[in-house]
């Protein structure tokens, strides 16, 4: 058994909230740079250059990348030999969010009651926490602040098995066309295939947040589906901010899970270009 205390977790989450909101990950920066080199449309090029310039400015100014510093989603892989002391994992994560959003001057965007606009919690808690028990004695936390604009473009479908692979492509590309410039393209698309209604959604979000950008699925069939979805998304011509161009999506990641013979659950997690996340291992 290895002991990890409340304070260690809270402090790590606080730092990760600030870090994630101020620094775009290197894989996202590299993909934006490559997109800029491939775009020919002047408006698209200008927007992509602004995204890179913004990321260059944030460490210098101390301002977050985006004013929507998001709802904090935390993926926690908890080793079965870890003993947490001083409070629950959920309490420690929320204390970290509370401190990080205060110290980092990040926006507090969370309503305690979804239908009561006056119920802002004032500290951006609570986070949404997804916990997995894994082997070992480490605690791995990935902190991912997610803006409302792109989260609102995400979707879940319960397709019929007969709709198959083409049905998946049609649903995803149809949704991308429908939302257009709303979720701040260029996008990163996470697709969760199979499982159940809720498992598909979690797989989709894990696909976006936890996999390095453009790393293909090791399953060759799923990697081919990722390539086809990326090509179809970019063939829409929606482009950066919906104003036209070749770059509608920077990458597509598909994760799958076994499913019932009667079902074909499908989820799409739409991530804006400001794909913010920070992983820490304790």
């Amino acid at each position: 058994m290895r002991t990890i205390d409340f304070e260690t977790i809270a402090s790590a989450v606080a730092s990760a909230c600030i870090e994630a909101n101020l620094h775009l990950p290197p894989d996202v920066l590299a993909a934006l740079q490559e997109a800029l080199e491939q775009e020919t449309a002047p408006t698209a090029r200008s927007i992509l250059a602004d995204l890179l310039e913004n990321a260059r400015l944030t460490p210098e100014t101390g301002l977050p990348l985006c004013q929507d510093t998001g709802l904090v989603t935390v993926f926690a892989d908890v080793g079965q030999e870890v003993h947490l002391v001083g409070g629950t994992l959920g309490e420690a994560v929320n204390e970290g969010v509370r401190r990080g959003y205060a110290e980092g001057l990040l926006r507090k965007s969370i309503l305690a009651k979804p239908l009561d606009r006056a119920s802002n919690t004032g500290d951006n808690t609570p986070a949404v926490l997804h916990v997995r028990l894994v082997e070992g004695d480490r605690l791995r936390l990935t902190v991912a602040p997610k803006g409302g604009g792109s989260e609102n473009a995400s979707a879940v479908w319960l397709l019929t098995p007969a709709q198959g692979r083409q049905g998946v492509i049609d649903a995803v590309v149809g949704r991308i066309r429908e939302v257009g410039g709303r979720p701040c393209p260029p996008l990163i698309l996470g697709v969760g295939l199979g499982g159940s209604f809720e498992e598909a959604a979690i797989q989709a979000k894990r696909a976006v947040v936890l996999r390095p950008l453009r790393q293909p699925n090791p399953d060759t069939d799923l990697a081919a589906l990722e390539a086809d979805l990326l090509e179809a998304a970019n063939a829409t011509g929606i482009g950066p901010m919906g104003l036209g161009g070749r770059t509608t999506a920077l990458g597509v990641h598909v994760e799958s899970y076994p499913c019932h013979i009667a079902s074909l659950p499908l989820a799409l997690s739409v991530q804006c270009h400001s794909a913010r996340h920070k992983t820490v291992e304790l």
Partner: protein, 179 residues
């Protein structure tokens, strides 16, 4: 992109109607921030026959809820939010003289019709570059609804704030796939 057109506020009908979808603009003057909650209150004021907390004639409304201002800066990160959530309010505000709204993403047919009817335009600012856009904001002062926090109405003084004319007052659109 061709050279940007400089605009100053209050924006006249003549200036607004001279713009074409796809034009790049640089705005100097004042922007009024307002999001969902502030728009609901503005509509409630108009419904009650009360005056608005700012002069709507020629005004430019910016759909923005900034992060808190660090010491020594007028404002925090301050990019656009999704405009379509305010579609239900925009035609009313254009009828009272608001000449432009600034946000991101597509809008309803009713909003596009209101732009033509009231000689107004819809501008898009690049989403997710709140730190970059904050560099063009030189002052921010509270105008109304302080209790709404980030959703309060603020008057931003801007210099060369960049945007793209996305729906013009003649029915034109810069969005990919629009006619």
């Amino acid at each position: 992109m061709s050279e940007a057109i400089r605009l100053s506020t209050p924006l006249t009908a003549e200036a607004a109607t001279s713009l074409q979808a796809g034009d790049a603009v640089l705005i100097s003057g004042h922007l009024y921030t307002a999001r969902d909650a502030a728009h609901k209150r503005l509509r409630d004021l108009l419904d009650a026959g009360e005056p608005l907390p700012f002069d709507p004639e020629g005004a430019l409304i910016y759909y923005c809820g900034p992060t808190p201002a660090p010491p020594g800066r007028p404002i925090g990160s301050a990019g656009p939010t999704t405009s379509s959530r305010m579609d239900g309010y925009a035609p009313l505000l254009h009828a009272y003289g608001v000449r432009a709204t600034l946000g991101k993403g597509p809008r309803s047919a009713a909003v596009r019709a209101a732009l033509q009817e009231h000689s107004a335009v819809y501008l898009v600012a690049v989403g997710g570059v709140g730190a970059l856009l904050a560099e063009r904001i030189v002052a921010a002062e509270l105008v109304a609804f302080e209790d709404l926090g980030t959703e309060a109405i603020r008057r931003l003084t801007v210099e060369d704030f960049p945007a793209i004319v996305t729906y013009d007052s003649h029915g034109g659109s810069a969005f990919a796939g629009d006619d």
